[in-house]
């Protein structure tokens, strides 16, 4: 059953462009005919659109598809290459045109439009018990919309501190572990001690500051988005929400333990400065280890530290997911492929290929993901602390993020506005935006 499109469907310029492009296709494009899927002999073909893009990840994906096809001659899976930068627009046009892939790889925070729009199948009744049990509830929440599971979360990425080990030792700061992480207070003190000469203690790459801020704020109990009794979501910016942004602001503008120039950078942009000793620590996603392993000068000694802890070690994530198109006529077969694809050993292969953490509990126990090399063990130890990102299913979040929160946080972090002004912007300007989506 298709649901009515939600009023809160993401409205971006790109989205509008693609939607306009897709509009005629809704009625016009030829759908996936059974002829394409079921040639003589009764064999069916399922199209699996993968977003794997790194060498090892691509290899793992293609190998798994080939293994499935060998084992299941009657249910052939065709590998289709997608791309992260264009996946939203591409899926939008595909759904509207009746040309969607059967099995869809995406990120959980990109699914809301399609889930509320009825483009993705409800997987709740299709999920095999093994898979349902293997993935913890906190991960299922990232793929659940209006109580229906529309995406199987399978890979996730905590934000960690990647640090120059020599600088850490030289400064004499305590080295945090997942069992005994720094508090935010300790982190601030460590950053100050690591700051000397032309070296900053930390570099915050905050080109896109909203998700980083929101996800880390979970550690101090910050929610930002609060669901009222009537089910509507409103923005608040209370003391617990302010702790993380205030820390970043003060590091840049008060004690100067953080570099100002990296505020406008993406994660990769900070790596040359990190390798050159300009910054002792950089908060980055766990998968950046691959770039660091490839690009760091020989002899450069780096380590992965857990993100600081507030009242908890929690942080928000938006895992990669696998979904099934509502129009797919072979949903059970598609789910059988997903079950195979996400079996514990296969999930390990995918995680290693992407340098990410699997959501599956069995895969997380695999010795290959518990090694000290590249600090895999530090990451797997953090898996229990990963929660659904605060903005995951908030309708109107993209507009709030683009129009209100991104410029507000950028100005606050650069020191152009104070905390009160930021609060007014996020709350007083932001709530009317969300309200439009919740009428």
């Amino acid at each position: 059953m298709r649901h009515d499109p939600a009023p809160g469907r993401r409205v971006t310029r790109r989205g509008l462009l693609a939607a306009a492009a897709a509009l005629p296709a809704a009625a016009l494009l030829p759908g996936c005919s059974d002829g394409r899927r079921r040639p003589a002999g009764g064999r069916i073909t399922l199209r699996f659109q993968s977003l794997a893009w790194q060498q090892d990840s691509l290899k793992a994906n293609k190998q798994l598809v080939a293994e499935w096809n060998r084992q299941h001659p009657d249910i052939r899976v065709q590998y289709v290459q997608g791309a992260w930068p264009t996946v939203h627009d591409q899926l939008l046009t595909s759904f509207e045109g009746g040309e969607a892939p059967d099995i869809i790889h995406d990120a959980s925070d990109d699914l809301a439009d399609f889930a509320y729009g009825g483009d993705l199948a409800d997987l709740t009744a299709l999920l095999p018990p093994r898979l349902k049990r293997d993935i913890p509830q906190r991960s299922w929440e990232t793929g659940t919309f209006d109580g229906r599971i529309h995406g199987v979360p399978f890979l996730q990425e905590p934000r960690v501190l990647i640090a120059n080990r020599a600088e850490l030792h030289r400064s004499g700061v305590r080295i945090p572990t997942p069992e005994h992480p720094w508090t935010w207070q300790e982190f601030e003190e460590a950053a100050q001690r690591l700051t000397r000469g032309s070296t900053y203690g930390v570099a915050w790459p905050l080109k896109e500051p909203v998700s980083a801020t929101l996800n880390l704020a979970l550690s101090t109990g910050g929610q930002i988005f609060h669901r009222r009794r009537d089910g509507k979501v409103e923005v608040r910016f209370d003391a617990v929400d302010q702790r993380v942004p205030r820390t970043i602001h003060d590091q840049v503008n008060v004690d100067r333990s953080a570099s100002r120039t990296t505020l406008g950078m993406g994660g990769s942009d900070t790596l040359p400065g990190f390798f050159a000793g300009r910054y002792a620590m950089v908060p980055l996603g766990f998968s950046y280890r691959q770039q660091i392993a490839q690009q760091a000068p020989r002899g450069f000694d780096w380590t992965v530290l857990p993100a600081p802890k507030g009242t908890a070690l929690d942080q928000g994530v938006s895992p990669q997911t696998l979904s099934i198109a509502e129009d797919c006529p072979y949903k059970e077969e598609a789910m059988a492929f997903i079950d195979f694809f996400l079996s514990p050993p296969n999930m390990v292969r995918l995680a290693l290929g992407d340098w990410l953490l699997p959501t599956g509990q069995e895969a997380l126990k695999d010795p290959a993901l518990r090694v000290a090399r590249y600090d895999w063990a530090t990451g797997t130890a953090l898996a229990d602390s990963l929660r659904s990102a605060p903005a995951q299913s908030v309708r109107g979040y993209p507009e709030w993020k683009d129009k209100i929160a991104t410029p507000g946080l950028q100005e606050y972090y650069s020191g152009a506005i104070g905390l009160d002004t930021l609060r007014k912007r996020l709350v007083e300007d932001g709530n009317p935006v969300l309200a439009r989506y919740q009428r």
Binding site: L17, P24, W84, Q90, G273, Q295
Partner: protein, 256 residues
């Protein structure tokens, strides 16, 4: 103009450790072909280049076949209709993509040509036709009408005049316009992304996006290598025809 290309060239041959240097260098210290090997191993670049080549070459040829007689008429026949047609050609260049793609979708639906190379080629022809027409009109106007009149005085028929007198003079303009149409189609991304679903039909600009990860992270070396290969044909062609394009666009702009 040269800076982006030279930087791309330099990046394509740098090993990962050099890509992350704080003080980037123009000339790679340890040049490598690994980025090219990896790019070809990861993505079907050759097949995608073949698709792009097919779409660009055929659409350029068709655009020229359609635009040349139309341009001749527009240049030689001066009346209200031809002026309106010329105006329409110019205005059509200002249309946003969303306005263009909708009627194209309608046409393709009627012809069952979605996810079809033929459909994409048709779109490219429609897309490049106005500019090709505009360019060729300039070229035709630059051919002195007196030459055709002289040929007629010498007894040449209309067809003979066109074939033996006008066409040779127009040839450089036709080649320049064809190459321009080729480059436009070669570099086109949005139509190819939206119209083609089957992986084996994807064109080079679409396949290039497969080297990009979430949140702007890129496999920089292989991406640069692939982008360099994608850039070279259009760059070489542009270098060859640059003078002709400029000449064509300006031809007929000043009354003799």
């Amino acid at each position: 103009m040269a800076f982006p290309f030279l930087w791309l060239l330099s990046t394509a041959f740098k090993p990962p450790r050099e890509l992350a240097g704080l003080h980037p260098t123009w000339i790679p210290e340890a040049p490598t072909l690994d980025n090219f090997r990896q790019a070809f191993a990861q993505q079907p670049l050759a097949a995608a280049a073949g698709n792009s080549l097919l779409a660009a070459a055929v659409s350029a040829l068709l655009a020229i076949l359609l635009a040349t007689p139309m341009a001749y008429v527009l240049a030689r026949v001066r009346n209200r209709l031809s002026r309106a047609a010329t105006g329409w050609v110019v205005i059509s260049q200002a249309f946003p993509l969303v306005l263009v793609i909708i009627p194209l979708f309608l046409i393709l639906k009627g012809l069952h040509l979605v996810d079809s190379r033929i459909g994409l080629i048709m779109v490219y022809v429609v897309w490049s036709l106005p500019f090709a027409l505009w360019m060729l009109t300039g070229y035709v106007r630059s051919v002195p009408r007196e030459l055709e009149e002289a040929a007629a005085m010498d007894g040449a028929g209309r067809l003979r005049t066109l074939v033996s007198v006008t066409a040779p003079l127009l040839a450089p303009g036709i080649v320049a316009t064809a190459l321009f149409a080729f480059i436009t189609a070669w570099n086109e991304f949005f139509f190819a992304l939206v119209l083609l679903k089957s992986p084996e039909k994807q064109t080079l600009p679409v396949v290039l996006t497969h080297f990009l990860g979430a949140e702007g992270v890129a496999d920089l070396g292989p991406l640069a290598a692939a982008a360099l290969l994608a850039t070279l044909p259009s760059l070489l062609l542009f270098a060859v025809i640059q003078r002709r394009i400029t000449g064509g666009m300006l031809a007929g702009a000043v009354k003799s």
